[in-house]
Amino acid sequence: MYGGGNIFEATKFDDLATEDPVKLAEFEARIARGEKIEPNDWMPELYRKQLIRMIEQHAHSEIIGALPEGTWITRAPGFRRKMAQMAKVQDEVGHGQLLYSAAETLGKSREAMLTDLINGKSKYSNVFNYPAVTWADSNIISWLIDAGAIVNQMANAKGSYGPYCRALDRICAEEAFHLKYGHDAVVHMATGSPKQREMIQAALNRWWPPIMTFFGPSDKMSTHTETLVRWKVKMATNDECRQQFLDMYVPKIWELGLTVPDPKLHKNADGVWEYTEPDWVEFKEVINGNGPCNKERLAVRRTAEEKGAWVRRALLAPKKEAKYIKPLA
């Protein structure tokens, strides 16, 4: 999982005025031809900045996203589910590593990214600031948050930056298991005992509002956004992703006899879904650090980093002449 809901930085400098017009034209022509950009190619500063920001956020979301589900490994019902849950969480952390490397090729070190995660400077997908209260919450995350992430990642995999595309191709392939696993878990609960049905419905009710914010607020169609679309950094608008998600998954929720806690939710004759506008004020509040789990997520991540520091130092000790070089591709 877990890209989605990327909020692009409003850049202060005049986006392109300072760029070399000849190089910029070549860069844009390459993208227009459908060729990917590779790390050593010339690229505008804005392209580099936005990609670092986007891929880094995506990477953080993977490793923070592992926490609410990781919590349930030891308490998952039965040995097989523990193993499957563990395999999924391991995948997410692996995705984090792939994405950090892709971002590194643009010139930001993994140390700097992890520092910015822990000090709160970089963001991660806002949904992970909510708790997985019961096992059923974990199931809803595995199914619907992953489903949302796949919508986003499939779009981004067609983007213009080579290393990000390579990472996303792998990630999307692994997500197939997550989606089926999550769906299976939800179906198991929904077709189980009355208590199980009640649990999964309660979890869906808790998670629906965060899920609706997963793709972020409607995009403001500024020149800035248009540039990012032309450069194939932004591949679909947040609303397009949200519509696609609703179209694919609401019927699957309904067929299980579950209800979606939004009385306004329906599909119009023209195929467009209508819904209650998510609470973007709360969304902003939570992004800015005031959600139910922000402190816990960062504290857990930080503790893991600090407790592992001596291991990394010990490993490196015999190799004092080591020098960092950013990965190639």
Partner: protein
């Protein structure tokens, strides 16, 4: 006050509710980088899969195995430190990189006393795809290896980029350790095909018809 969590294991850590400002990670905290190549099936060409961070090549190999062979069929893996890879410029897809780079002819007298060794040659056919192993050449330097690669593989088009790596710098899986790549049947729980929900849904719908 320490942090209270729904997860008792987190609560037991007694993490401070208001932590101090974290210190930035020191340089090399995340160790150094290695590039990983895998072989998808017997006799297939080795292909680039991506980087890993590690302190040495044995650990890089283990991380590479975990990261890149966990979900995909794999019959062999090569790992090398990033600094060992010599990279040509990247070209447009319509142009072969061999037609663009100027390879300095080796000065014969300079080569006296130098012994030839093997270099691995990798081509990138299309931007956004992965480098693929073309073969091994014998040469006295990276430059010489590239010249040799041009004469042996220069006609293999398209080629937008070439990587040259000394064969001795490549850490490789051993033929006799091949069983490390086989996965057991018991791990089917991590395959998408292990999850079939359609029957359950159909049964549920039959038993609970929509009024």
């Amino acid at each position: 006050m320490s942090l209270k969590s729904l997860d008792p294991r987190v609560t037991r850590l007694e993490l401070p509710e208001n932590p101090t400002e974290p210190t930035p990670k020191p340089e090399l905290d995340q160790l150094i980088t290695y590039e990983v190549f895998h072989q998808k099936k017997e006799n297939a060409a080795y292909t680039y899969v991506g980087p890993v961070h590690a302190a040495n090549e044995e650990v890089a190999f283990l991380f590479g195995k975990e990261q890149y062979s966990r979900r995909y069929a794999c019959t062999g893996m090569w790992v090398t430190e990033t600094k060992n890879v010599m990279v040509t410029p990247y070209t447009d897809e319509a142009v072969s990189v061999y037609d663009v780079i100027r390879i300095q002819p080796e000065n014969v007298t300079e080569n006296v006393g130098k012994t030839a060794e093997n270099y691995e040659i990798f081509h990138l056919k299309k931007r956004g795809k992965a480098h693929q192993h073309m073969g091994t050449v014998s040469a006295t330097s990276y430059e010489d290896a590239l010249a040799e690669a041009k004469s042996q593989f220069g006609d293999k088009k398209p080629c937008v980029n070439v990587w040259v790596i000394k064969a001795a710098d490549m850490f490789r899986s051993e033929e006799e350790d091949k069983d490390i790549w086989s996965t057991t049947k018991e791990k089917e729980y991590r395959e998408a095909t292990a999850y079939r929900v359609l029957d359950k849904i159909t049964k549920y719908k039959e038993e609970n018809p929509v009024a």
